[in-house]
Each structure stands twice: as structure tokens, then as C-alpha cells.
Assembly symmetry: C2
Homo-oligomer: 647 residues x 2
């Protein structure tokens, strides 16, 4: 096949691609990230690029607004390269540096109860310095048994194996170290394995990497294993985004493209290796110095990491190939650390409750307490866990994408240029806002969307059903191409040169998302014959959760109406769980027990989820009695109060 050069402006970066490659993949190959939420279907309209030279077919501008079409913009995902081209990626189509939540937190509870604390550490990989007796003609024991016998005697190992790579180094290393060596020993199951040997006493401690493989972003922590110290951290976009922004569109991609599964695996492994390399270089380490990896990701991410088809996760009855994947050697899946290092993935529960959730439950440790706890992780999806030390139930609500900007006209991820907070003046309807990165606003991210709904409701811009009143005396409410819309930021103040709006349709999507989560919570409680007031603690996990305002989230009916002090942010509990797994062999057993114990509730059958969902499509809810604090405030607003002045 012919191949052509695509030149990408303003970087003037050139990339060579084969005929027929689309511009999205070309940009991906040039390591420039273009936004997309439909996964190259030509429907989300986020991947607009301007063609400066080169021919394109007709109908490659899909859902783009007419003004962009007029300026020569096309959708990168629809344009196939058939000759040399020059294109420009505008700022508003780019994925800028994502605000990736790199770390988790100890909960108040876990800090008070020292399960898996540093003084109980038993990391997956250890280094041992030992002295061997030099062999003689009368003492001809081979190098391996000589090494093993001392390790077994002095360090209490049983059933020691050795990796092939390490055995290949052994003869020279023991002699170069004049029979003093440092052995790196790793153990995830019953059998320990020697995976590296160094001459003499090594100055380099054992390192491991914990990885959170999110659908959108991937985070890696470099951890010094002996003292359990986080040395460095790094996060980036999941390169799989080029094949679809959500898991469903990526599964479809693997089903419809012959090499799709390999491409998806390569993309996530490329992402992980990019993080590993950065961490290694920055800390003067060689890749061989990193001797274990623990990954936690949702069920689909784990399938793709291991190159296992996820086809049947999206087809009824939604069955994963596995929930616990085999521990593999790094070399088996081309992870760029010690080739014999174990790569452990934390176990999933079901197709839509993955290792990230098991990790989160492990990290928060509420399974050691008898207090009823609700764990909420709102990422690309929304997963819920309810339970205590006796039982656990879990479910998954397809809620996430809207809060990550998907399906929202001006929605975007939590990155530079995203509106994260707004306030609407009750009289003038003027809008104040704050933007991530202090630049001109380019769109609205999850927390900004929650504030918007809440403020539009309080300011009377929308009604309880989320419909925008069209009789306002403000030019911010108008009829746009998508129906009635409210202008948050006018073009002259925006970073894109276009108005930033929320439409009736956007609000409908947001209501569906929040209704889904609230209905999930209600359904789980009902299944266990419990009331929301029985919940002692609510843990909110995930990157989006971190920017979420509890009061406003309750006021729109996303979170249940409980006292604010019952809520606790736990940050990136997924990476926290992966790190605990690296540092405590017992934690790997515990996380498996957690996954085994979780009863998965399939929301699509045999319960009250659909009724709950429909009732929750109001702000905050059809049944206002479920939100007593809001009902009280509204009464105060109507009848007045000496204690409160409204907002």
C-alpha cells in the first residue's frame, strides 16, 4: 500500500501513514491528542481539524456546526488519507494536560485501624544480600542450588524458583561479586521466584509500580518497596482514546477491526510504558530495576491489557472472559520493566464492576468495620458498593460519560480551559465562573456541570424537570440550533471563539446521569431492606469526585440527602488499592476475598431500578421528601426563617 506524509500545524510535525488511515490515528501516531467521545463514529463532533492542503472526500464534516464547516473544518475521524496533507489541529479539539488525580488517601477509618500499615509491610518483591561459600573440586554444588540453599536457610524461603533471564546472569554475577550477591525475590502466590541477581551488596532498593488503568487516564506510582515510599508519580491519557472514548465504542472497535484487539492492547501498554519510562528516567533507574507491577482497572481495561476479547461484556447476558486474570511476566505482554517481573491485575466482580472498584474497597478498608458504608466511584462509569464487614453488594450505573463531558454540547474533561465552578446572579443572570488553569474557558467539566444545574435551578433558569424557561428577560436564554439554550460564556470571553452554552438536551443528559446514580443507590438499599439513613459513611472516589461539591450534588439529587460530615473524599482509591497490593502480600488475598464477596446486582432485571430512575429525573427528585434538607430550605425561602437567609 502507498504511504503519505501528514503535516500537522502549528507544530509542523510530520507523520508517515499508509493510505486509508484516518486523521485521528495520524495525529495519535504523531503523539498529538485529539478529543473524541464517539470513538471515531463521526457523531460527537469533537475532533474538528482544518485541512490546509490535500484532498478530502465529501461528507467528512458530519455533525460540525455550519460556521466551522464554512471555515474548512472537517472531522479528523472521518477523513481518510489518500495523499500528502497539511492539517491544523485547533486548540478546542485538543486534549490538553488532564488534571489527573495521581494519589489516593487514607480514610479516617483506615488511619485509625492499621490494616496494611507500614509497620506490617510484606511487599511482593524483596532484595536479599547473602554470602555464598565459593565452590571447590570437593564441593561442586551448582550455582543455582548454592544460591537457593542459602536463601532458603537464611531468609526462610520455600519452593524457590528462578527466572530464565536471571539464571542466565547467575554464573557471572556470583563470580563478579566473589560469591556475595543481592538476589531480587518476588512472590505473589505460594512459590517465590528469584528474578534478578546483582554482584555484591546492591545500592538499589527494590522498586514496584502501581498502575490505575482508567478508560480515560492512566496513572502510575513508582514505589520503593522496602519502606513503602511513593518516590514519584505520573499520569497521562490512555492512548486507547483514539479508538473510542468509552468502553463500549472500544469493544465495538475490536469487534469490527481484524487487528482491533492487538491495537487496543498495544495502546494501553504503550501508555503504561510511557509512564514507566518517564518514572525510570526521572529517578535514574533502569527498567530492570522495577521488579513488580500491580494494575487495577475496570473489567474491559483488564481484558484489553491481556488481549482477551471483551465482546461478550456488551452483549446480554454480559459475561466477562474472566474476573481474575492470570499473573503474567512483564515480558509476556511487553511491559518495559524487569522481563521476569510479575504483573498482577486486581480482580473484577462482573463486567461493569472491575478491579478498580475492588481496589477502592481494599483501600478504604470498610470491609473491616460493621458500619454500613456506601462507596461511590464516578469516573467514565458510575459504580456503587454498599456493605460492611459482613456483606457487600455492588452495581454499575452508566452515568459517567455525561459528567466527563460526553454528550454535552460544550462538555469537556477536567483539564485546562474547563469551567469548574459557576455562580448565576439571581437578578441579572450574569455568570461568574472559575476555569482550570486560569485560561479563557473552552468548555465545562463535571464539577462545573453540577454547579451549573444547581445554580440554574436556584436562579430559576430551569424548572424541576430541567427545562429552560424561555420567557426570561436576558439574552443568555435563546433558541439555538439544538433548541432552547442558556449561554454560560459569550464568544468574546471564551477561549474557543464560540459561545459556551448548555442546551435543553444537555440538561436532559445530565439528569439521566444523576438519576441513574441515585436510582442505583436506592435500588441497592431496597434490595437489602435498608433506608438511606442507615448509611453511616459515604466514600466518594475517582478524579471527578474530587472536584465535586457535596452540597450542590445533593441539591441536584445526585447524592442522597445525608449530613455533609458523613461524606468523605477518598481520591484515587484505585491507585491506592494497587499500591497496597504491591506492599502487602496479604492484601492480594484480601482483595480477592472482597471481589468474591461482592454480590453484583444487575440493574436491568428483577428490581425497582427503572421506576427509581424515572422518579429521579427531577431536580432533586419527584419525591421531595427524600431530600428533607432541600424541602426545608425551600419552605424557608417561601415562608421566611429567622435562622436562615436562603442562600
Amino acid at each position: 500500500m502507498e504511504s503519505y506524509t501528514v503535516t500537522i500545524l502549528p507544530e509542523n510535525r510530520k507523520v508517515r501513514v499508509v493510505e486509508g488511515t484516518n486523521l485521528m490515528l495520524a495525529a495519535f501516531k504523531a503523539e498529538l491528542n485529539i478529543d473524541s467521545s464517539c470513538g471515531g463514529q463521526g457523531t460527537c463532533g469533537k475532533c474538528a481539524v482544518k485541512v490546509i492542503s490535500g484532498s478530502v472526500e465529501d461528507d467528512v464534516d458530519g455533525s460540525l456546526p455550519q460556521e466551522l464547516k464554512d471555515e474548512g473544518y472537517v472531522l479528523a475521524c472521518l477523513v481518510k488519507v489518500t495523499g500528502n496533507m497539511i492539517i491544523e489541529i485547533p486548540q478546542f479539539s485538543r486534549l490538553t494536560k488532564h488534571k489527573v488525580l495521581l494519589t489516593g488517601k487514607h480514610t479516617k477509618y483506615s488511619k485509625e485501624n492499621d490494616y496494611f500499615t507500614w509497620n506490617k509491610m510484606d511487599p511482593l518483591t524483596k532484595k536479599a544480600f547473602i554470602k555464598l561459600k565459593a565452590p571447590e573440586l570437593y564441593d561442586g554444588l551448582n550455582d543455582l542450588d548454592r544460591l537457593k540453599s542459602v536463601l532458603m536457610k537464611e531468609k526462610n524461603y520455600k519452593n524457590l524458583k528462578i527466572s530464565l533471564e536471571c539464571l542466565g546472569k547467575l554464573p557471572n554475577v556470583v563470580r563478579n561479586g566473589t560469591w556475595e550477591v543481592t538476589a531480587t525475590i518476588t512472590q505473589t502466590g505460594k512459590t517465590a521466584e528469584i528474578i534478578d541477581v546483582e554482584p555484591g551488596r546492591s545500592k538499589i532498593p527494590a522498586y514496584g509500580i502501581a498502575v490505575d488503568i482508567g478508560t480515560t487516564t492512566v496513572v502510575a506510582l513508582l514505589i520503593e518497596l522496602e519502606h513503602g515510599k511513593v518516590i514519584d508519580k505520573e499520569g497521562t491519557y490512555n492512548k486507547q482514546s483514539a479508538y473510542g472514548s468509552d468502553i463500549i465504542s472500544r469493544i465495538v472497535y475490536t469487534d469490527e477491526n481484524e487487528n482491533g484487539l492487538s491495537l487496543l492492547q498495544n495502546a494501553v501498554i504503550g501508555t503504561i510504558n510511557e509512564l514507566v519510562d518517564k518514572l525510570a528516567i526521572r529517578n535514574n533507574l533502569k527498567s530492570i530495576d522495577i521488579s513488580t507491577m500491580v494494575c487495577a482497572g475496570n473489567t474491559v481495561m483488564t481484558h484489553f491489557l491481556m488481549k482477551v476479547p471483551a465482546t461478550y461484556l456488551r452483549l446480554e447476558p454480559y459475561i466477562p472472559a474472566a474476573t481474575k486474570f492470570p499473573t503474567v511476566k512483564a515480558k509476556e505482554i511487553n511491559i518495559n520493566i524487569n522481563p521476569a517481573a510479575n504483573v498482577v491485575t486486581l480482580p473484577s466482580v462482573a463486567s461493569y464492576v472491575g478491579g478498580d472498584i475492588s481496589a477502592g474497597v481494599l483501600a478504604t478498608m470498610f470491609t473491616h468495620s460493621d458500619k454500613l458504608t456506601l462507596f461511590i466511584d464516578i469516573g467514565t462509569n458510575g459504580e456503587l458498593v454498599l456493605g460492611n464487614s459482613n456483606w457487600l453488594v455492588t452495581c454499575s450505573c452508566s452515568a459517567g460519560p455525561a459528567f466527563e463531558g460526553s454528550g454535552i454540547t460544550c462538555g469537556m474533561r477536567a483539564m485546562d480551559g474547563a469551567i469548574k465552578w459557576i455562580e448565576i446572579d439571581r437578578d441579572s443572570f450574569e455568570v461568574k465562573f472559575e476555569v482550570i488553569g486560569n485560561v479563557n474557558p473552552m468548555g465545562i467539566c463535571g464539577s462545573g456541570l453540577i454547579y451549573s444545574l444547581s445554580e440554574m435551578m436556584r436562579a430559576g433558569v430551569i424548572d424541576r424537570a430541567g427545562k429552560i424557561f424561555d420567557n426570561k428577560t436576558t439574552n443568555r436564554v435563546r433558541i439555538g440550533s439544538e433548541g432552547t439554550e442558556f449561554v454560560l460564556v459569550f464568544a468574546d470571553e471564551s477561549g474557543t471563539g464560540y459561545d459556551i452554552v448548555l442546551t435543553d438536551g444537555d440538561i436532559k443528559n445530565l439528569l439521566r446521569a444523576k438519576a441513574s446514580i441515585f436510582a442505583g443507590i436506592r435500588t441497592m438499599l431496597q434490595q437489602m431492606n435498608l433506608d438511606v439513613n442507615d448509611v453511616s459513611r459515604v466514600y466518594i472516589a475517582g478524579g471527578f469526585g474530587n472536584y465535586m461539591n457535596i452540597v450542590d450534588s445533593i441539591s441536584i439529587g445526585l447524592l442522597p440527602d445525608l449530613p455533609v460530615e458523613k461524606f468523605e473524599y477518598v481520591g484515587n482509591s484505585c491507585i491506592q488499592g494497587a499500591m497496597i497490593g504491591l506492599l502487602h502480600k496479604e492484601a492480594l488475598k484480601e482483595v480477592q476475598k472482597i471481589a468474591d464477596k461482592m454480590t453484583y446486582i444487575e440493574l436491568s432485571i428483577g428490581n425497582t431500578f427503572m421506576e427509581e430512575f424515572i422518579s429521579a429525573l427531577f431536580i432533586p427528585h419527584t419525591d421531595i421528601e427524600l431530600f428533607p434538607s432541600i424541602a426545608r430550605k425551600e419552605k424557608e425561602l417561601v415562608y421566611g426563617s429567622t435562622n436562615s437567609s436562603g442562600r
Copy 2:
């Protein structure tokens, strides 16, 4: 670097090599095997080729006879390619089809005592057909646990693992087979692993391959595992020969060449894959259908197979990196069978007593008997084992190469053109001979050498010290360029166009080889305070042993003077042991016990070996009383007898 074309006649085969490659490697790359026993040092003179065109440096004809030098012959190992060349490989420099001993035998003993017989079979890999319940929304168990639970329940497996490759196939296979599947399960240690799944009931049984990795030849058996049937067999040269004919020269090669170890590993794996491919194609199998491999080879061969340096095996105190190598996946070392198949290597005892010997002891099963047994394997080296069910001692004598033709002017391996039997007329000194392949003779192989020594002695051509009498009335005894020599075949009858001779020097080398083995036997017996007459059985293993004549071997003092009925040929006991390992899980444990039990006697220190060796440099021995049957015959010859007419 520049590369050039070498054209090889008479095949007219062309091969492209980089500048500086020697002609031996060029021929190897063209898949034409040139003989060599010095490993490219330019000393053995066996790799003569004729340069038809192209330039060569001076001094590349090394030890070649003057007549060959005059005809334009050079040593292939010394000529470095510096431009396009045309060369001819003469018949006498070629390795023709080797008479590879493809199979072992049951001993009389093992036939009578049914350890590891077919009715007790428990092969390393089995296939199991099972039916699964299809999943439903209310029964969402993942594919892997669904498969494992039935296998564990119906087939009594515990701790089932699955290979990554197999897990990748699982979701589609279970559905294509409408939840009926055939699983291939392999087990070498405690944990069984599912390494393949096929939809429905598979028509292909489980196959394994047993491999004997010899220094000179490699043999593979294709075995149907359920019924323990040998389906097919194949043998060929070890491609490592291009880097040296014996293990020492190959170790030197790896020490002196940066990529040496990789090249040696690639060569043996290339050899194994060639055999595997032939067996698979001939039997309509795909490589994935072969699901286990058991290899047995000497310690150096096992190191090279696993790419582990063997450097310290040739340096005092002669320490191997390991005696038991880790079981690896086929994909780890690029063996072309099921990538997740286990490749098991049988354990060695010491640097010069390898897995081939452990395999031989396993196969002959004398460790189940209380009768004292002597096991002799004469291959490229000579290894001895002495013992019974209570104890085992072993040693290694560097005896082999002479009997494989190395260091003997007209020596050659047991292949077409090799003289395998001779008889010398007592009066005329005329020589009758038989040649392998019924072609004109080109050299003498091991059995021919034993007959030659024995016949030259009886006919009075040589004295007890092996010196050729130079006062004979025959033109067969003469002074050649290497000293006194005896002409076995004149040029007009030979296939090379040159005389086939045995020189004083050749005979000295042969005496050293036979003395080494006999002294090894005597030393072992002395260490155990035993007499040769305590030995109940002598098992003779190996390819060379198969052609050996017991009576003549005793008469030259190679074998001890025991009744002929105590000797038993056991054929290729190495491949037999590997096959038993494939078919019986217990046998893998037993062979490890055998290796652990064997006490290695280092002949170079603390015993009587050197004295024994010097005494054994006579024919049959300095102490004729050790050979009572020969002493008796000689007396009869001198004094006459009514019972015997001499020979």
C-alpha cells in the same frame, strides 16, 4: 558492512553473507553441512573445500595434506569472505545422512518389572471434553470460572491455572462450541494449567515431543500421549556443529564471541524446530497441537538450550550454573509448538554427567533392582554409572571424540561411507571391510576403529602398546607424513580418491580413549570396594554402543572381561527416558530422585584414576590377569587346545 554471494558447487546453491563470515558458516547458512571436529580452529583439517573463484588470504590451508593444498583446497573455517566466491564442497568433507539412533529399548529387566508401563500411564498433558451450562442474566459466572469449576469437579483438578493465550481464545471457543469444549490441560508440578481450548469434542488427541539433544545429533519422537504411542520419529545433526564439534570448543566459542551464546541457542532451537516441523507436517498436525516437550541432553547442551553461559563448566572446579533448569513455556525459548506448552529438561548430576544420563538410568530402571549394574554411555563423551536400588555413583571420561572419528586421520562419524567392520588376513594382511550405506569407503567410524585395533593386534600389525611393526612384508605398512601407518583401503578402492590409513598417532588416540573408559570403570569399582565380577549387568547405551562388538571391545580392553551374556544394548536410552517422562508424571519425580542420588566422582582428584589410565594404555591392559578370557585364548594359541581353534 558489505555482503557477498557465495556459490556452492555442485549444488550451485547461493547464499548471501556479510563480509568476514567464514566459509563454514556460509555453508551452514546454505544448509549444507561440512564436517569439523576442532570447531573452526583450523586444526582438524576436516573442512576442506575447493575455491573455484574468489580471493582468499594466505595460510588458510592449515593442516591439509600437501596433495590437497596443491589441488587448491583450503580449510572452510579459515577462509573469510571478502568478495563474491564460488566454492566446491567435496564428498569427503561433507556430513552425509547420519545413522541416528532414533529409539531406545526396554531392557529385559524393565520388561519384567512394569514400572512406568502403559497401563500406569499419567501423561504430562491430557485433553478433557466437558459440557458447560450456558450463562444467563441470573447466572453471570465468567467464562473462566465456568470452565474451571466443571474441570475441577468432573476431572478432579485442583489449583487450575490458564495460559494467557488460551484465555484469549476462551470467550469465542465456548460460544462456537455452544458450551461444549475440549480443554488441553498440562501439569508438570503441583499446578495444572489449561493451555488450549477447542470448540466441541476435539478429534485431535494430545501430542508431546521427546527430544534427545546430543552434541552431534538431535532426535525427536512424536508421541500420542493418551495411549503412549510413538507416532513418528526424526533425527538430524545439531546445527551447533558449525561452532565446534565438541562441547569444549563450543563453550570457547561462546566465551570468545559477543553473541556466541545466542548463536548456540538459536542453532539448537533451530535444529529442534526443524524436527518438530517435519514431524508436524508429516502427520498433518499444527504446531499448536503439540502441547508438551521433554528434552534430555548433556549439561552443556541444556545450558545452551536455555541460553545460560557454560563458561565455568570448563574451568576448575567445573561448576554448572544449574543441574535442574526451570520448566519454561515453549514461547520463552521460541520452540515452535503450542506457545504455552511446558518444555521440561531432565536434570543433570554435574558438569559432565547430564540429563541424558539421568534419562538413561530412568529408562533402564536398574535403580529398582538390588543387582549391581554398570551403565555405559559412549557418545561424544563417555559417561559411566554404577549402582543399584540403594546407591549410585557416576563419572565422566573424556573418551568419546576418538570413537566418533575426532583426532583420527581418517576417522568419521557413523554415516554413509564409514567402514563399520574389518577383518585382516593373518598371512597376507589383506583387508576385508563393510561400509555403512554400501558405498565406497570414505573413512572409519567407531565400530570400525574397534575392529581395526582388535584385528591389527591379532594379525600382528601392532604390538601391545599399539605401535605398528615396521618390518612387515606388505606395502600396507609404510612411513607416511604422520609417521608409521597401516593402509586399510587404497585410494583406488576408496570413495575419497585417497588412501584410508590408521597411523601410530591414531592408535595412540584410540588407546587413550579406551583406557579412559576402562580406568573410569576400575576407579568407580575401587571407590565402592567392589570387584568387576560383582557386576551383574552391563547396559551399553548410545548410538556408538549400538554398533559396538562386545567380544572385540573386550579384546582391546575397552570393556571389562565379563561373560557376554551380562552385556545388554539399550539403544538410545536418553530419548527413551525423555519419552517415559512425557508419559508419566511420576517419572519426572523419579528422574530427579535419580539425579539427586547419584554421587559424582571427579576423576581428576583423590583417586587411582591416573594410575589406572596409564596401566590401561596397553592392549588389552598391562595386567593381563584382568582379562582372563584373553589370557586363556593366548595360552591356547601358544600351547594349542582341543577345545578352541583360536579365532
